[in-house]
C-alpha cells in the first residue's frame, strides 16, 4: 500500500468522522403544519372594511406589495422605480399604525436599495435590481428579497436580508440551485410548521418552471426543498394554505397563460405534492392570495372572471377549496389590480394589500370576519 492509498484512507476516515458529526447535529425536519385557528367573529362584532393606504407614485411602477407584521411595526413594502427590473428599483415601505383616531399610514419611505443590499453581502456583491420581497417569519427584522445581479427575473436569486431600521446589515443568498444559484424567486408568505419552524414557498423560473417548498434549518440555511410542479403547465408562485397538520393546498399561477388557476395538494406535510391540476376558476396569468378563516374556511383574493380580468375579488371556500363563493368584487378601476397578499392580524382582522392601476399603485384595506360573514 503506497502513501497515496494511505492518504485516501485517511481522507475516508475524516469523512466518516465528519458524517457522524453531521448526522448527530442534523435537525430532523418536522413535517406537521401549524394550522392557523383565527378567532371566530363574535355575534355583536360590527362589520369592518376600510382602506388604510392608497398610494400612487408620480411616475413609474409601484408593485408587488407585501405586509410585514412584527412586534414593533406593521408596514407594507413594495418595489418602486421607473420600470420593473430597472436599476433604480428600490423597496419602499409605509408604516401602518392604529391610534385613537383610527388607522394611519406613514409617508412612503425608502427601505432597501440595491446598493445598500449589495454592501450587506460578505463579500460585497453587485445587485442590479430588486423584486418581490416578503417577510421572513422565522427571524425578527428579516426579509426575503428577490435580487437580480445579471440578466432578468430568470436569473434572480433569493436573499435573506437582516435589517436594522432601514439599513440592511447582513445578507446571504439561499442555496437553491446548482445552476449559478439562479432563477429562484419569492412571492407568497411563509408556511408555519407545528415545531415553530417555517418553510418558504418559492418558484423556479428558468425554462421549465415549477413551484418549490423550501425548508430551512434553525440558522435559516436551506435544509431541503420539495417541488410543486405540473405537466404541460408552468406552475409558479405557490400560495400555500394548511388544512390540517398533514394536508395543505398550493394555489398556483400558470405562467403559460392558460387562463386557469392551478392547484396542487399535499397529504404528508409538504413532503410530496400532487401534479398541479387546473381548477374551474378562470384566472389570468397572475398570483392569488389565500388565508385560513375561522371554521376551517379559506379566503382567497384573486382576479376571477377570466383570462384578462383586472378586477380583484374575494371568495370563500368551506370545502377545502373544492368550491368557492364570491363575497366581494372590488370596483372597476383604470388598469389592473394584481398581486394580492393577505395577512391575518392577531385580533382576527385581515389585511389585504394589492397593486393597482397596472402596477402603478399600492393599496391596503382592512376588514374583519364579521364583514366576510355579512357578504
Amino acid at each position: 500500500m503506497g502513501s497515496g492509498d494511505i492518504f485516501i484512507l485517511a481522507l475516508a476516515l475524516i469523512s466518516v468522522a465528519l458524517s457522524g458529526y453531521a448526522l448527530w447535529r442534523d435537525e430532523t425536519l418536522n413535517w406537521v403544519f401549524a394550522v392557523p385557528r383565527p378567532p371566530a367573529p363574535e355575534p355583536g362584532d360590527a362589520p369592518l372594511f376600510e382602506t388604510l393606504f392608497d398610494y400612487r407614485p408620480e411616475k413609474g411602477v409601484a408593485h408587488s406589495p407585501a405586509i410585514v407584521a412584527n412586534d414593533e411595526t406593521l408596514s407594507v413594502l413594495w418595489f418602486e422605480g421607473s420600470s420593473e427590473a430597472q436599476p433604480d428599483i428600490e423597496i419602499r415601505r409605509a408604516v401602518l399604525g392604529e391610534g385613537p383616531e383610527g388607522w394611519r399610514a406613514g409617508a412612503p419611505e425608502t427601505f432597501l436599495t440595491s446598493e445598500a443590499l449589495g454592501r450587506a453581502f460578505d463579500p460585497g456583491q453587485l445587485v442590479v435590481t430588486l423584486g418581490n420581497t416578503i417577510q421572513n417569519d422565522a427571524a425578527e427584522r428579516s426579509l426575503y428579497a428577490t435580487v437580480v445581479s445579471v440578466g432578468g427575473w430568470a436569473m434572480a436569486s433569493i436573499a435573506e436580508v437582516r435589517m436594522e431600521g432601514t439599513l440592511p446589515v447582513r445578507a446571504r443568498k439561499l442555496d437553491l440551485s446548482p445552476f449559478l444559484n439562479r432563477s429562484f424567486l419569492v412571492r407568497s408568505p411563509m408556511v408555519a410548521y407545528a415545531d415553530g419552524s417555517h418553510a418558504l414557498p418559492a418558484y423556479f423560473e428558468m425554462g421549465t418552471t415549477y413551484g418549490a417548498l423550501v425548508r430551512l434549518n434553525a440558522d435559516g440555511r436551506v435544509r431541503d426543498q420539495r417541488r410543486i410542479d405540473g405537466t404541460g403547465v408552468k406552475p409558479i408562485q405557490p400560495m400555500i394554505v394548511a388544512l390540517d397538520g398533514a394536508r395543505a393546498l398550493a394555489f398556483l399561477r400558470d405562467f403559460d397563460d392558460s387562463g386557469q388557476l392551478y392547484l396542487s395538494r399535499t397529504e404528508d406535510g409538504g413532503r410530496h405534492w400532487t401534479l398541479a391540476e387546473a381548477t374551474d376558476v378562470p384566472h389570468p396569468n397572475a398570483p392569488v392570495a389565500a388565508l385560513s378563516l375561522s371554521g376551517g374556511r379559506i379566503l382567497m383574493a384573486r382576479n376571477g372572471g377570466g383570462k384578462k380580468s383586472g378586477r380583484l375579488e374575494l371568495a370563500v371556500s368551506g370545502d377545502d377549496g373544492k368550491s368557492w363563493h364570491m363575497i366581494h368584487r372590488f370596483e372597476r378601476e383604470p388598469g389592473e389590480a394584481r398581486y394580492p397578499m393577505l395577512r391575518g392580524l392577531a385580533d382576527g382582522r385581515i389585511l389585504l394589500a394589492y397593486s393597482t392601476n397596472s402596477k402603478r399603485g399600492v393599496r391596503v384595506v382592512v376588514f374583519n370576519e364579521a364583514w366576510v360573514a355579512a357578504r
Binding site: S15, S19, L23, P123, G124, S149
Partner: protein
C-alpha cells in the same frame, strides 16, 4: 470566514485566468507566479469594484472543486507532477453533470440536487468518491470531496454539498480539455 473563503476562491479564479492569458507570452512557471500575484492583488485592492462584485454575484458560491482545479492546473504549469484526468473520466463527468443540471432545471422530475442537503446521502457519496480514488490511485477527487464535506459541515459556504464539489463552469472547462485532446 465565508467572506474570506469567497475572496480566496475569487483570487484563485482570477489568478488562473491571468495565468492562462499570460501563458501565451510568458513561460508557464513564470505565468503561475505572476498570475497568482495578479489574482491575490486584485482581490486585496479591488474587491469592492464593480467587476469583482459582479463576479462574486455571478459565480459564488465558488466551492472547492473549481478553485482546486485551477490550482491543479497552475501546479502543473509550475512543473509539479500532476496526473491528468483520463478522457473517459472527463466524458463520464460531463454526462453525469449535465444530467444533474438537467434535473435541477426541472426537465426531469427527479431532483438530484436536493439530496446534497442531507447528511446521510452526502456521507455515502463522499465515501464512494474515496473508494473510486482508492481504486484508481487518484487522491485529488477524494481530497476535494472531503474538503467540500468539511466546509459543508462547518457551514462555510453553501448548505448543499454539491455546490462545494461541482460548479457549472466545470462544463466549459471539461469541454475545452476534451476538444484540445481531439485536436
Amino acid at each position: 470566514m465565508i467572506g474570506f473563503l469567497a475572496g480566496l476562491g475569487l483570487a484563485v479564479l482570477l489568478g488562473w485566468m491571468a495565468f492562462a492569458l499570460l501563458g501565451w507570452a510568458l513561460a508557464a512557471a513564470l505565468a503561475v507566479w505572476v498570475g497568482g500575484a495578479i489574482g491575490g492583488l486584485a482581490v486585496l485592492l479591488a474587491r469592492n469594484t464593480l467587476p469583482l462584485r459582479g463576479m462574486v454575484a455571478l459565480l459564488a458560491p465558488f466551492g472547492v472543486m473549481l478553485p482546486a482545479i485551477a490550482l491543479r492546473d497552475m501546479a502543473a504549469g509550475a512543473g509539479l507532477p500532476v496526473v491528468p484526468f483520463a478522457t473517459f473520466e472527463l466524458l463520464v463527468f460531463l454526462v453525469l453533470y449535465l444530467a444533474f443540471l438537467t434535473s435541477a432545471i426541472g426537465l426531469v422530475r427527479l431532483d438530484a440536487y436536493r439530496i446534497g442537503y442531507a447528511p446521510l446521502p452526502v456521507a455515502v457519496m463522499v465515501l464512494a468518491v474515496c473508494l473510486y480514488g482508492f481504486l484508481t490511485g487518484n487522491w485529488f477527487l477524494p481530497l476535494v470531496a472531503v474538503l467540500g464535506q468539511g466546509m459543508w459541515v462547518s457551514g462555510w459556504g453553501s448548505s448543499n454539498w454539491f455546490d462545494h464539489v461541482t460548479h457549472v463552469l466545470l462544463v466549459p472547462v471539461a469541454l475545452v480539455v476534451l476538444i484540445l485532446r481531439l485536436i
